[in-house]
Subunit: 151 residues, 2 copies
């Protein structure tokens, strides 16, 4: 695991995540889907426990419905991601912020959550095959999602 | 990435996760901590967003306080974990169940959550350097953690 290789891989891996964030910001459903591998196993902020990938058309329709709940761009920012790569496998963990304005309101909100990505190098290019996004929950008996945390 | 190597790595990686589960089941705080690398970056079920590792003594005290909230064993079971490994880096994702009986009650509960682990091979042995555990939350305005989901 030479430093040069790691740095080059790190740059390529972060570019994949940035392309995904840029696609979401542009509210482009097909581009968002194309940013990750079609076999991606996703543990999302919303139920179920694990997403079942549909066709591109089905998944794009779901994303468009989600984009429609916001006015203007949906901004995703990763804070100091840690990239660990060797050979053809890598993972990334980072805290992530999402800032958006719900449709029909003028006030934006920012949600901080945890993100972990698993990647493989497929045909020479890094591909996200696993995504895990979450907030913790309060164990005070309320079982309330901790949506107000900041790093 | 030969099949033989992957299979040997997979077995070794799953043994690390099993040792961690066995240590929790045995309610052994020091053994639980020793199962993962001391640099592990943890995104836990409970706040904060990311855990800050203390000394072994501090972390063991925290674990013992958590074990004390349950009567009898705390059983952690990973369901069909997917292991992706190459060179000296690996990640694992799986749905996980935890079954335990709250202290002072006779009724056990089972909680299903999502687990992702990031590993490095350090000095020839696989070590968990990242753990991400979560449940999703309901996006119906309640912001309630989805603690009742099953695979």
């Amino acid at each position: 695991m030479s430093t040069t290789t790691t740095t080059r891989d790190e740059t390529a891996i972060l570019a994949v995540l940035q392309e995904h964030a840029d696609a979401i910001r542009a509210r482009d459903a097909e581009r968002t889907i194309a940013a990750f591998d079609r076999t991606v196993v996703r543990y999302d902020l919303a139920p179920p426990l694990a997403q079942v990938n549909g066709t591109v058309e089905e998944d794009a329709a779901g994303l468009r419905a989600w984009f429609a709940t916001f006015d203007g761009p949906v901004q995703i920012t990763h804070r100091d991601p840690t990239v660990v790569a060797d050979g053809d496998v890598a993972f990334v963990h980072t805290l992530t912020s999402m800032t958006a304005t719900p449709t029909g309101t003028t006030e934006s909100f920012t949600l901080w959550f945890r993100s972990t990505y698993g990647l493989r190098r497929l045909d020479g290019a890094w591909a996200v095959v696993h995504q895990h996004e979450s907030v913790p929950f309060h164990m005070d008996g309320s079982f309330a999602a901790a949506v107000g945390l900041t790093p």
